[in-house]
Symmetry: C2
DNA sequence: TCAATTCATGCAAAGCTTTGCGGAAAGCTT
DNA sequence: AAGCTTTCCGCAAAGCTTTGCATGAATTGA
């Protein structure tokens, strides 16, 4: 039950030289003679030496860890984005530590605390849908802690961010519905305080206007982003005196909830009700009928977010917001 | 742009006492007088002191990090298990660091290296489907590094593990098909070296026998677990002179691939071909028709795995394998 | 042969925390 | 008043690495 890792000290003792000599030899410092250098390097390789990151962290005040806070770990959207972040971070020799806010404001604040206590070098955050007070983020900026947000963002003048072009995507959806002959188009949004809810609502309205459709407030519903609440929202829409013939859900889970309610009501998709989602490739091909949707380039969004993070970690550039273009993939759920 | 975190030293200097006094006061050591203790605690709270985990790690040789290696970050199965692990780890004050083997043997070995270099205290692993050589795991055990596996496991006498009762689940599926009137039941497995492939195959055969059905080797297909390869496997099955009237896929992605191929062939589910998956709740309700499946209790599996990990981290108990019971949830895809 | 370089290596501090041990001051007893 | 016990606190080491400065030896030039 010996020590698990060899240290410079161990190597030094074995070769009867000082720790600093070993350290220098290993990093090709010119002060060390060739003979000794090769001898030290050989032993280090044999013993499988690797520098202790704790010691390095202490010395350099850098842990090479970056904290991620997501509202939910399980859905494809976030795991895919995390995957994208992780791939870039790994390239730079960074680890990611993931915390889950579970869509709760309190948990989000707590996660920030914990990650800072763990000495992450900075944070990448997607806000919980409950969060409307942004003081905790402003504080991070004030303390000079690197922070980048994605998808659900706030304080764009203070905090670098990566988002989808939400308004434009919404408009494309409305236009698409219109082209397919749908005329009463509903939108099931998330909580009002979320930037994505707002932006997509603006796009929705702009889209209606562009198609010369009369906006009807009754066709805009809100839900808490859960499958069940989306289903309930759809049920309310279907009970309207003049129900929609098409509906657009703010994300994948919501779209599935909508489809479920429509089917349970005995209506056909896309004949009676068209559906479009804001979602990622995989799911949409699995549901039936295949779901027309905006492809959110999730993996890429993760990569871009990580790149932006590293940019701001190393230099003091002003915050920028990267807007990713989306694409509408037409499938069966919206082709009357 | 001062230091980001206050240290004991900072507090000590401010109060003109020694570092050790501050340290002791903060942990209620009896040697410190009441008056001084409260004064120190007050300042610590004000300054938002939290002990530096790097220093602690160095001192205690414990990083409170646990490494997880999964074959894939994006699928619901793994993200849900990770979520379960994380919830238990967080309770114990541990962080999880996640590495993705991408179903590749080489990447798996590399991830082990990297996580050890990062000084995780132990590893939780689900093997890549490529992995058949288990020397790298045996090495970990020899080095005394805590290791627990889940779902796809190996060396059960050496390595503690959490698995589903695969054989029994398979049998239940066959029995279920039989009860619904299906008679030519196919099984689309994963790579042969995987324990889950083997165990479920055994259960499949036992199930056929219990139902007095003749096993037909042509009805067992293998795939690499991807949607596409599952689809290809199903196409091969459908081209048989005597194609199956029911098929069982080794996991969710595979089952979706099967359904896709069946639909493309113009066959109806469940009338022409019954389908059962080995999957998790959410997806199965979203596809059409809803997929009958074995519920893999993923979140719980993650929790149990983490609990087992901590058990073995702290004491030297012999390896045990925890077998989780599964449940067959009947939905439309298998009810002729 | 002595002084002046050059070359190779070691010392020690810093980064932060815990903890055994020793020390000083105060209070008590006789 | 001297000695003893409490009570309270600081020193220093360990855990690991990097790096400026110092030291020692060896080599060169005069």
């Amino acid at each position: 039950m010996g020590k698990r890792h060899v240290s410079l000290k161990d190597l030094a003792k074995e070769l009867n030289v000082s720790i600093s000599t070993v350290s220098r030899a290993l990093k090709d410092h010119p002060d060390i003679s060739n003979a000794l250098r090769t001898k030290i390097k050989k032993l280090a390789a044999e013993r499988n030496y690797s520098p202790n990151p704790l010691a390095m962290g202490l010395l350099k005040q850098a842990t090479r860890m970056i904290g991620i806070i997501v509202p939910d770990l399980v859905s494809h959207f976030y795991s895919s984005i995390i995957s994208g972040i992780e791939s870039v971070a790994a390239d730079k020799g960074y680890f990611v530590v993931i915390a889950n806010s579970n869509e709760r404001y309190e948990k989000e604040k707590e996660s920030i605390e914990n990650l800072l206590k763990a000495r992450v070098e900075g944070l990448i955050v997607c806000m919980s849908c409950e969060t409307s007070d942004t003081a905790h983020f402003r504080q991070l900026v004030q303390k000079g802690i690197p922070l980048v947000m994605f998808d659900r963002v706030c304080l764009p003048n203070l905090i670098p961010a990566v988002v989808a072009d939400n308004a434009e995507a919404s408009q494309k959806i409305i236009q698409h519905f219109y082209d397919r002959g749908y005329r009463r188009i509903a939108y099931v949004s998330g909580p009002e305080q979320m930037n994505i809810s707002q932006e997509r609502l603006l796009g929705y309205r702009a889209g209606l206007k562009a198609c010369s459709l009369e906006p009807d407030p009754a066709l805009v519903e809100f839900c808490d982003l859960s499958f069940e609440s989306a289903k309930a929202a759809m049920k309310r829409l279907l009970q309207l005196a003049n129900p929609p013939d098409a509906v657009y859900g703010i994300n994948d889970t919501v779209a599935f909830g909508l489809m479920n309610a429509i089917k349970e009501a005995g209506l056909r998709i896309p004949e009676d009700t068209g559906v479009v989602g804001f979602t990622d490739e995989f799911h949409s091909t699995v549901v039936s009928p295949p779901l027309t949707s905006i492809t959110h380039p999730t993996f890429e969004m993760g990569q871009k977010t990580a790149e932006l993070f590293f940019k701001h970690l190393n230099s003091d550039v002003p915050p920028e917001t990267i807007v990713l273009k989306t694409q509408l993939i037409e499938r069966l759920s919206s082709s009357k």
